[in-house]
C-alpha cells in the first residue's frame, strides 16, 4: 500500500514534469518477446516500427524493450513505459494478452495495441494477421516438394493461432499430395534456437524432408541448410537462406498498420478495434518462390495466392471434418471468424493430440 502510494507520487511528479515538455509529441512504445535481431518475429516487428518512426520523423518519440518474458516481467515493462509517458504501447506477443489488459486498466489514458490476442478493452485494440492464408500456400508447396511424403511442423504453444496454422498447412499439403503425412513437434517456446534445431534434426531423422516452423528463429533453416531438405521463412523473409533451403516465406507486414494507428493517436481519432487482415490487405506477404520449385508448381501456388487474395477461396472451405471424424464444415461452407479465432481442434488426418 505504502509502496503503491509512493509509486503513484513518483508517477504524478514525473507526469507533471514531463507533461510540459512533451505535450505535443506522441510517445510510442514497443514491447518485444525476443531480441530485435532474432531474424524472425521480433526483428520484423522492430523493422516495421522503425519504418513507422521514419514516416513520422521528429513528430513522435519511439521507445522499445526487447527480450521481455511473457508474464510478470511484461507487466513491469509496460507499467514502466506507461509511467514514462508513452501514449501508445504495442505489445507484440500472444502471451502479453493478460498483462496488457491488466496494465491498460491502470492507465486509462494510455492506448494499447496487442498483437495476436483476442481480449480488448476501451483502450486496448488487438491486431493480427491471417497467417493461415500464408500457411495454405506454404502447406501446398510443402506437399508438392516433399519426396518422402513426410512433412514436419515445429509448433510453439497450443494456442488457436498455431493450431490454425497446422490445420491450414495440412489441408493444403494434402490437396497437393494425397499421400502426405504431417508430424508435429511441440517445443513450448517461441524462441529457443537450440531446441528448434534439435526438433528439426529429429524430424529429419524420421524421414521428413520439408519442415515448417511456427517459432521465431532461423535455427530450423540453419539445420536444413546443413542437413538438406526444404523450409520456409517465418514472420520475416529470411532471404539469406534462399534459394534453398528457404523456398518461400510468410512475411508479416506490420508497418502500414503501425503508421495508421499512430496517425490515429496524433489526430485524436484512435478507437479500440479488432483488426484481422490477410493477404488482401497486405498484412500477410508471401516471399518470392525460389527457383528450386518447379515452374508448374510455382504457377499453381501463385494462383492459389491470387484466389485467396481476391476472396474467391477461403483456406477453410468444406467439406472438412474434425480429427475425431465428426463433421465440421459441409460442402462449400466456409469457416466463420469466431470458430477460427478459438480453434482448438485438429482437422481430420492430422495425427497426435494437442497438448492441453
Amino acid at each position: 500500500m505504502k509502496f503503491g502510494s509512493i509509486l503513484a507520487g513518483v508517477a504524478l511528479a514525473l507526469g507533471l514534469g514531463g507533461a510540459a515538455l512533451a505535450q505535443d509529441k506522441v510517445k510510442v512504445g514497443f514491447v518485444y518477446v525476443g531480441p530485435i535481431n532474432d531474424g524472425g518475429w521480433s526483428q520484423h516487428h522492430h523493422e516495421s516500427a522503425l519504418k513507422m518512426k521514419e514516416h513520422f520523423g521528429d513528430k513522435i518519440d519511439f521507445v522499445f524493450q526487447e527480450s521481455v518474458p511473457e508474464g510478470a516481467d511484461a507487466e513491469r515493462t509496460m507499467t514502466q513505459m506507461a509511467l514514462s509517458g508513452a501514449d501508445l504501447i504495442f505489445t507484440t506477443s500472444f502471451g502479453y494478452m493478460d498483462p496488457t489488459i491488466n496494465v491498460a486498466a491502470k492507465f486509462p489514458d494510455v492506448k494499447f495495441e496487442h498483437a495476436t490476442g483476442y481480449k480488448t478493452a476501451d483502450n486496448v485494440s488487438v491486431y493480427s494477421a491471417r497467417f493461415y492464408e500464408g500457411r495454405a500456400i506454404t502447406g501446398f508447396l510443402a506437399g508438392k516438394m516433399t519426396k518422402s511424403n513426410k512433412i514436419g511442423y515445429i509448433a510453439s504453444f497450443p494456442i488457436p493461432e498455431v493450431i490454425r496454422g497446422i490445420n491450414s498447412t495440412y489441408i493444403h499439403a494434402k490437396k497437393a499430395n494425397p499421400d502426405v503425412q504431417l508430424s508435429v513437434i511441440w517445443i513450448n517456446t517461441w524462441f529457443d534456437p537450440a531446441k528448434e534445431a534439435d526438433a528439426t534434426q529429429a524430424l529429419l531423422d524420421q524421414g521428413v524432408d520439408v519442415v515448417l516452423a511456427h517459432t521465431d528463429s532461423t535455427a530450423p533453416l540453419a539445420v536444413l541448410e546443413k542437413a538438406g531438405g526444404y523450409g520456409f521463412g517465418q514472420a520475416a523473409d529470411m532471404a539469406e537462406y534462399a534459394p534453398a533451403p528457404r523456398i518461400s516465406s510468410i512475411i508479416d507486414e506490420w508497418a502500414p498498420y503501425y503508421i495508421d494507428r499512430v496517425q490515429a493517436v496524433i489526430d485524436g481519432t484512435w478507437e479500440s478495434v479488432n483488426t484481422w487482415h490477410g493477404i488482401k490487405e497486405g498484412m500477410v506477404g508471401i516471399g518470392e518462390f525460389s527457383e528450386v520449385i518447379p515452374e508448374q508448381v510455382r504457377i499453381e501456388a501463385e494462383s492459389l495466392k491470387e484466389a485467396i487474395s481476391a476472396g474467391d477461396y477461403h483456406p477453410f472451405t468444406g467439406p472438412l471434418k474434425k480429427q475425431d471424424g465428426t463433421d465440421w464444415l459441409a460442402e462449400g461452407e466456409v469457416a466463420d471468424d469466431g470458430t477460427l479465432a478459438g480453434m482448438n481442434f485438429y482437422v481430420e488426418g492430422v495425427t497426435g493430440d494437442i497438448p492441453q
Partner: protein
Amino acid sequence: MDLSTINPLVLIASLMVAATPILLAALGELVVEKAGVLNLGVEGMMITGAICGFAIAVETQSPALGFLAAMAGAALLSLIFGVLTQILLANQVATGLALTLFGLGLSALLGQGYNGLKPPPTGKLDLGPLGDVPVLGKVLFSHDMIVYVSLALVVAVWAMLRYTRLGLILRAVGENHDAAHALGYKVVRIRLAAITFGGACAGLGGAYLSLVRVPQWTDGMTAGAGWIALAIVVFASWKPGRALLGAYLFGGVTVLQLNLQAAGLAVPVQYLSMSPYLITILVLVIMSADRGRAALSAPACLGRVFHASS
C-alpha cells in the same frame, strides 16, 4: 503411433551430436574435481566459449580458429575463478556460482551484433571408405572433428588419471593436498592448471553448440547444459568412462523425446521434456543410495581451501 519410423542407428548418430557439448564440459569438470576443486561455473564458461568461438569463427571464417578461441576465452574466464579461489582463497561454491552469472552476462554483452549471423560450416571429417561401411558407417564415421576429439579425450583423461605420473600427482592433490604439499608438489599451480583445462573443455563444448549443433548465436543458448555436466560428473563417480555413458544417456533421452513426438507418441509433451532431468535425478539417487562407495570415489579434498601454512 508408429515407432518403426524411429531408426535406432540414426538416433544413435544424433544423440552423439546432442551429447558432445555436455560430454566435453563434464570431462573438463571431472579433471578439475579430481584435483580437489569444485567449479560450479561450468555454465558460464560454456556460454562464454560459445560466443568467443562464434565471434572468431564469423570474423575469420575459420571454424578451427573459432574452436581455439572458444577454449582460450573460457580458459581465461576460468582463471578468474582460479585466482579468486586458489590465491585469494575465496569460497569455491560462491565463486563458481558468481562465475556462471558473470559468464551469462558477459556473453550477452559480447554477443551484441552476432545474433542472426551464419557461422562458417564445420566440415564433416572425411574418413574415406569408413563412412560407407554399412550400419557402423552412419553411426561412427560420419561426424565432425569435435565428436572424435571428445571421444579421444575420454580415453586420454582415463589413461592420464590411471597410468601416468601426472594423473597420480593430480589425484594426490585432490585426495590430500597437505600430504601432496609436504611431498613438494605445487598444489596451487597444479590446481590452476586443472581449472584452466576445465575451462578450455567447457569452452569447446559451448562452441560446439554455437558452431555445429544449432549453428547460431543467441543469448543464454546453453540453457542449463553446464549444470547437467556437473551432475554427470557425480553420476559418473569421477570416472571418465562413466561420464561418457552419462552424457550419452542424457543426450539420448533428449533426442528420443523429440523423436517420440515426431512419431506421434501419445504422451503429454511436458512429461517428455522433463524426462531427461528426471532420469538424471533418479540415477543420482540410486548412485548415492550406496553411501560407502559414493563417498569413497569422491576426491577427499573436494571443495576445501588449501593454504600452505595450514
